[in-house]
Symmetry: C2
Subunit: 500 residues, 2 copies
């Protein structure tokens, strides 16, 4: 039986290698590839990903999984081998249902749709994107229908990013959260506003870069296994688990973009680099889900990086780097400024109090599209109506509204809610961490993060994808994903800043 | 039949995509990969290359080739389709003989051998490398023996890099060349030497970089399809034909390394970028052979880049970039300096007059190893004896002698002679070009290279790998590879510089 396990592991290792190669192809595409390489890169990515899918869904894998099941049933269910077989079985059953033609068609449609979206956004021309988005929605519906029966047609889409989570779960979480979050935003709006203008000044890019490097080095980001580059859209890319790179975007006239973006991506990278080496080159060798991943990036960005103890340590260094801009801004004002709440059109620029509302809007629209109760042509109206309702603002045009995000053009319907779930999970974990490590604020005040990282390693990182997100979070915090901690966090933080 | 051709082309395109992905993995390994990524990179390259080999040597390809043969026989033998089937057949027949285990074993042995070589060279400790090189030689012998019967056991090794060329051909060429080249070197040694000390001064690296960029941009290197980066060992990497990158190494205290290295690599890149787009994603979509490739890099580096007309145009600009270093060095002295002949231990630093002698020595040693008439333990002595005989110098230690090159540790036995052959071919082509383009020196004097590049495109570049090197060179120059043109070139150039 150990022979068969070895055979399975060998195939899974090769599949992982192919995805690692695809990861590098993607990273390079967004960092260093000369523009003329785009056509060829499309072919290379298509071929490598198709081969990985083909190898993973081969009959050989199916047969090995069948043969290994009795062996797995005898193991400790938490053992790496048992979990490997369980997770692989689940993923195999799902992926084997997807015909290669559908994958190819999706690749072709999204290649064109992405180009159309780029132009449509630049021209503020939703009708230009509309027919392409219709095709994407159609293909995602066809994909979802492969997995019937289901409780909800959106379930298989969500499940790709959050294994085991159901649409009904997310709806319930968001319905619980939304009124509380709207109330907080409204309460803040009724109070005197805080000043953040000093963040919008010229800031030398190299100095922004250097400060970010200093911060994430202190977090524990290991440059022997990582690097930082510039890209138009910041992202983290793992290339086989021992090489996890981040990219950052800097705004020369606003400090927030680079500063918090760097911490955010480092949070993702710290997770990937910290997974048990024994899980590498297998389906267990990456994060548990996108929400768990986002809980890590948001934790370092917000719960650490927008906290007062953090800046008690780092603010003098930041002032030293930018004496002309920040020399006369006291810490208390700086702390308020980086936590300013200001409802806006653009999700990626949203503050902690309004961010989730952007996500809820998107989830509702995605559900309606996939349920076929909303037509693509009616999207702009549906968008703007909800913006008004949740955030009290209406975008001036579709470029700032329904066209702002890249995701749908790439077929990523089912993805958005993981961002909000990540915020909720980060707060749940943070409460637990602060119970386990009562002197954490004091450590952060000294610029010490090793105890925090050790806690994350032991509780989350080391497990890779062994546990589904709900199971993992329940094991750690005692409950599944729940908005209560996040609401408590917002009330505490903004209660203090805005006096609500 | 067109269906079958299409099927074959689809598989070959996917194989090309995999090699392109491997190309990027290799490029990244030498440019940006964090050191901790090395272990994973080995796995990724191994998997991608093994899959490419497996796909290319599949029974399906063999069957399609059989079925397509009658169709190919009816085509114009120079047609792309006919050549595709011919070249693929040849490569298939060869690669299909190689068992996957041998490829894996070679990958494992060379991974360890490369590490041992790195340490052995650093420690000047040949015995440390010796057992690893023995294994490499053993594996290369086993590989060669797969192709018995042959005229010479070295033939299959050489043929990997120079399709169709035989050991006997290269021996004859080198035996013809060696006495003439030795005579030239000795004649030069008997004359008053030229001064080159001004090349060995501090030269700002960014200015070196900028000047190199200016030069190769004027050659026609297209930055939309390429880029330049730094690496320890300069190389050119094509990633699918529309993205061909070069790397350069700079010596802050010697101008020659970066300057001529940049032109050399650009020569390789101009070739790859200039191949008929119809040949992309197929076995025809790269250069004809390593010798033909080297003829291009050496042409731009030496026949163009070390010529007087070239510097009549560029020297004032170089002086402007480095006024303190070169302001008082007249053009005639500069031209002499960059063409200084000086027998030395190190191949990659050798001048045009001595370079080939380094290669001949290596070929003789490789032949003796593969013929099993020389034992690995006796290599240092064999090396030093020939150095004394051909170049009149003996390395002070093995690090500067037999341990200087990386190639053998990577299993590349059969490769070296392509460097010297490339020199010979560059001179053969140059004579033909100057007959076809009588005003070429005048154009070069004006910094105009487009006519030269068009000639190279039409005669060489566009054909990709359609023709074997000897056939290609014969078609263009009327004769196969022949040292006469190179000897004439050396006599003419050094006759003038040294008065021989």
């Amino acid at each position: 039986m150990e022979d068969k396990l070895k055979q399975l592991q060998t195939i899974l290792a090769e599949v992982s290698d192919l995805y690692a190669a695809a990861g590098l192809l993607g990273w390079d595409q967004q960092t260093y590839m000369p523009p003329g390489g785009a056509e060829g890169r499309g072919y290379q990515l298509g071929t490598v990903e198709a081969l990985a899918h083909q190898k993973f869904t081969s009959q050989e894998v199916g047969k090995l999984l069948d043969e290994l099941q009795p062996y797995a049933d005898q193991l400790d269910p938490d053992a790496n081998e048992a979990r490997l077989i369980k997770v692989t079985r689940r993923s195999y059953d799902k992926q084997a249902k997807v015909p290669a033609e559908l994958i190819t068609e999706m690749a072709q449609v999204t290649a064109v749709a992405h180009q159309a979206w780029t132009e449509a956004r630049a021209e503020n021309n939703f009708p230009k994107f509309q027919p392409h988005l219709q095709k994407v929605v159609e293909l995602r519906c066809r994909y979802a229908e492969l997995f019937a029966p289901y409780d909800h047609i959106y379930d298989p889409l969500l499940d790709d990013f959050e294994p085991g989570l159901k649409t009904a779960d997310v709806k319930m979480i968001f319905e619980n959260l939304r009124p509380q979050q709207v109330a907080i935003v409204r309460a803040i709006a009724a109070k005197p506003q805080v000043e953040a203008g000093f963040l919008y000044q010229p800031f030398d890019e190299q100095k922004q870069w250097d400060f970010g490097v200093k911060v994430i080095s202190s977090f524990g980001y290991d440059w022997k296994h990582g690097r930082q580059d510039r890209s138009a859209h910041p992202f983290t890319q793992s290339i086989g688990g021992q090489d996890v790179r981040i990219t950052t975007r800097f705004n020369p006239n606003y400090l927030g973009t680079g500063l918090f973006g760097t911490m955010h991506e480092a949070g993702h990278a710290l997770y990937e680099l910290d997974i048990d080496p024994a899980l590498r080159r297998s389906p267990l060798g990456s994060g548990a889900s996108l929400a768990v991943h986002e809980s890590q990036s948001r934790m370092w960005e917000n719960l650490v990086g927008r906290s007062l103890p953090f800046w008690e340590h780092f603010y003098p260094q930041l002032q030293q780097a930018f004496p002309a801009q920040l020399g006369n801004v006291p810490l208390s004002k700086f702390y308020q400024g980086i936590n300013q709440v200001h409802p806006s059109f653009i999700r990626v620029e949203a503050d902690e109090a309004t961010y989730n509302l952007h996500i809820m809007l998107r989830l509702e629209i995605e559900l309606a599209l996939i349920e076929r109760t909303l037509q693509v042509k009616d999207l702009p109206e549906a968008w703007n109506t909800r913006m008004k309702e949740y955030l009290g603002v209406v975008p001036e045009n579709d470029a700032q509204g329904v066209l702002q995000d890249v995701h749908w053009s790439g077929g990523m319907i089912g993805y958005f809610s993981t961002y909000a779930l990540g915020n909720l999970v980060s707060a749940q974990l943070w409460e637990r961490i602060n119970l386990d490590l009562p002197d954490l604020p004091e450590q952060i005040r000294k610029g010490e993060f090793s105890t925090l990282l050790s806690w994350l390693h032991e509780k989350i990182h080391c497990h890779g994808a062994k546990f589904e997100p709900q199971e993992l979070i329940q094991r750690i915090t005692g409950s599944k994903i729940d908005p209560a901690a996040y609401v408590r966090y917002l009330r505490g933080k903004y209660g203090e800043i805005y006096g609500i």
